[in-house]
Amino acid sequence: MNRRNALKALSLATGGVLTASALSWSGCKTEPTVFRFFKPEDTKTLDQIGETILPKTEDSPGAGEIGISEFMDIYAADCLKPSHQTALRNAYSQFLSDIQTQYGDDFVALEALQQHDILLALDQEAVVYNQSLAPKQPPHFFSILKNMVLFGYFSSEAGAQQALRYLPIPGGYQGDFPFQQGDKAWAL
């Protein structure tokens, strides 16, 4: 199933309800960010994609809440290979226009559940897509986005300290350290 069909199927599955959802998290950036890879108007979309991939939970803020778009733009502009940049740029704008076509509205205007289902479908599509990559062929654009969200979030101040356990100065090493189910991973 290609992305267009996936989105169409989702659109039908969710009844094509196009309700503007209030952002469920607070603290999104009010000052305009100078973007070098994405466009300033992508801020909310990227933050909402980030929030959908890594949402706010009881112990830690979501990726959108910490303004992951800012890091995504820096990383995409400076660290992605040109071939990945091109793949991401093209597929991302296609994604935005597909959403418009299918839902008649922007991604950020959709309900959180719809956003989740759309990205979950993309994630599943990406897993299949990435299994048969030719050498040096960029991965699925959603994988590039998702990797930036994961890396940016878990290396952020909130992500490292709240979603993970951050030990800047351990002081020593213990090879047998108690671990209970649910304990968090070290950030480094």
Partner: protein, 571 residues
């Protein structure tokens, strides 16, 4: 002291000159200064003061714009140095950028350099194992290179001498193949590594598995506190420079120690372009320097010269030190200077998964791995390749980068990624390579660098022995991981170019015979006795161990001899 050409020759005269301030140069300076010799260190790079000049040492991941990754533009500009595992956003200021000092790759060669006070001692991997008698006896027994002019017994006291000062963490394992150092308390193995140790040693009774040995202060002694160094904090941010002095570097240890004697002069930004040989006195009398910044040319004089510029630059400097007596480079009567260059074979690695112990974790970031001394061809030749390799492995629990069990987005996914995953095993090799005449470094006949020194041409490659040794490691590695209960074992040949190991050795080898070697058993030129070479360039063969500890021991031994000869007026 004044540092320009306005100074008089006597103001530019010292008892000893040490060229290079890295791991071996720092030791040469410390030993010579302690024995009362007025010593000048010439360092081609900028000054780096301990603590003060470690700008990233205390930064958090989120303090870096790219979270400690290298940008695409920097990678494009630096195709060579950006391959180095330690070249990161937090450390790039300690590495030479590709364009700053070009060279010619007749065969692919990755030349990794650190031009600053402290050199690569700021950046080294800090793993320290003594050579064994088998390593020194290897060339003579197996008929390659030339016989070492020394044996384990000659260097053992000097290993002890440097180890006490450096501080080596390790366990007294009592192994003939990897003799014990003077140890500080060892790092621990984690639960999985320990279980694998038992399984591997049971399945392969001739192999040993031990905790790694490294230059980290697990429990500082008085001599370390006197250096101003403290306990390693298990941060594993070492290559940024350690504000605790937890690991050994010239910056934290030997250079300030030498300075305390009052006998040291340190001149950064001083590119030594040649050693000056005096035909009448039949010895070297000093060095020519080009100031890195002003390009001013200036000479310094001394009775003893230690060359510690790091292997490749030591070869370049000596090849460029031409005189009527030595038209092909200092001491190069036999034409072997720059030849028999060797390195370490790091191409093989394996990854695997391991079940069990999901209820155990570890605390802190240990600066060493599990080590296995070489078990190939130790007592006699057993395989269809010469020599052998050390094996290293670690067991760690995976983090957020792993594939999730369920959906890859949302609250459940986030929770899963916030917790440690399965145990992941990484195993790698460090293989000996056989020095060969065709593996060499020479100077360009027509191209020069910014300081007027001919560009280096690297012609160093792998051979059939290296390929066989690699295959053997991959086979044995897989067998050992299987015996240790691992699954999903994946072999990898990373295809690294020579040089990326940063263990380049040889070109100015030690030996017994002036016809077939450059240096004698005191690391002293056979035919120019007041010049000593005690960095990697002096190595006759490579062994399988991380080499820095041996460079330090050979340096301290040579400096002791040189100072003795100096005082007897023999030099």
């Amino acid at each position: 002291m004044p540092q320009n050409t306005q100074t008089t020759p006597s103001e530019r005269s010292f008892d000893a000159i040490v060229i290079g301030s890295g791991i071996s140069g720092g030791w040469a300076a410390k030993e010579l200064c302690e024995k009362g010799l007025k010593t000048l260190i010439l360092e081609r790079g900028r000054d780096v003061k301990h603590k003060k000049d470690y700008p990233t040492a205390l930064k958090n991941p989120w303090d870096f714009p790219h979270r400690n990754r290298i940008s695409h533009a920097v990678k494009e500009e630096n195709p060579v140095v950006s391959k180095c595992y330690a070249f990161r956003e937090a450390t790039e200021h300690f590495f030479v950028k590709d364009q700053e000092h070009p060279y010619i790759q007749e065969k692919p060669f990755d030349w990794i350099r650190g031009y600053q006070v402290g050199g690569k001692s700021l950046l080294w991997a800090r793993q320290t194992q003594r050579w064994s008698r088998f390593d020194f006896e290897g060339p003579a027994r197996d008929g390659y290179a030339v016989d070492w002019p020394i044996r384990y017994g000659d260097i053992a006291p000097w290993y002890s001498h440097v180890e006490k000062f450096v501080g080596i963490a390790g366990n007294p394992d009592g192994l003939e193949t990897l003799p014990d150092s003077e140890f500080l308390p060892a790092w621990q193995m984690n639960v999985v590594e320990k279980e694998m140790q038992g399984q591997i040693m049971e399945a392969f009774p001739d192999r040993n598995v031990i905790i790694g040995r490294c230059a980290h202060l697990t429990k500082p002694k008085k001599v370390h506190l006197e250096q101003g160094r403290g306990q390693c904090q298990a941060r594993s941010l070492c290559e940024r420079g350690c504000p605790y002095g937890g690991y050994f570097s010239s910056n934290s240890s030997t250079i300030p120690w030498a300075e305390k004697t009052g006998n040291l002069t340190l001149r950064p930004d001083s590119v030594v372009t040649a050693i000056i040989y005096d035909e009448k006195q039949e010895k070297a009398i000093g060095v020519q320097v080009t100031d890195r910044l002003t390009k001013e040319k200036i000479e310094f004089y001394a009775r003893i010269i230690f060359v510690n510029a790091a292997c490749v630059n030591t070869n370049i400097l000596l090849l460029n030190s031409k005189s009527n007596r030595f038209p092909n480079g200092l001491g190069n009567d036999n034409g072997l200077l720059g030849k028999y260059v060797a390195f370490h074979n790091y191409r093989g690695s394996l990854t695997a998964k391991r079940k069990g112990h999901e209820d155990t974790y570890y605390y802190g970031r240990r600066p060493t791995a599990i080590m296995m001394p070489n078990f190939r061809n130790v007592y006699k030749q057993e395989t269809d390749f010469k020599r052998g390799y050390m094996t290293f492995y670690t067991a760690t629990r995976t983090s957020w980068g792993r594939k999730p069990e369920g959906p890859g987005i949302g609250a459940e996914f986030k929770k899963e990624m916030s917790q440690p995953g399965y145990w992941s095993i990484y195993m790698m090799m460090q293989g000996e390579t056989i020095p060969k005449e065709e593996n060499h470094i020479r100077l360009s006949p027509d191209k020069v660098d910014d300081w007027g020194v001919p560009l280096m041409i690297a012609s160093v490659g792998y051979d059939e022995n290296d390929e066989k040794l690699l295959q053997d490691f991959l086979e044995q590695g897989e067998a050992m991981l299987q015996a240790a209960g691992c699954y999903d074992i994946v072999r990898d040949d990373n295809g690294w170019n020579p040089g990326l190991d940063i263990h380049v050795m040889g070109g100015v080898r030690m030996g017994k015979d002036p016809e077939t070697s450059m240096l004698n058993g005191w690391s002293q030129f056979h035919n120019c006795k007041n010049v000593f070479v005690t960095d990697g360039a002096a190595m006759t063969s490579t062994g399988v161990q991380n080499p820095s500890l041996t460079f330090m021991a050979l340096t301290a031994r040579a400096a002791d001899y040189a100072a003795e000869q100096f005082k007897k007026d023999e030099l």
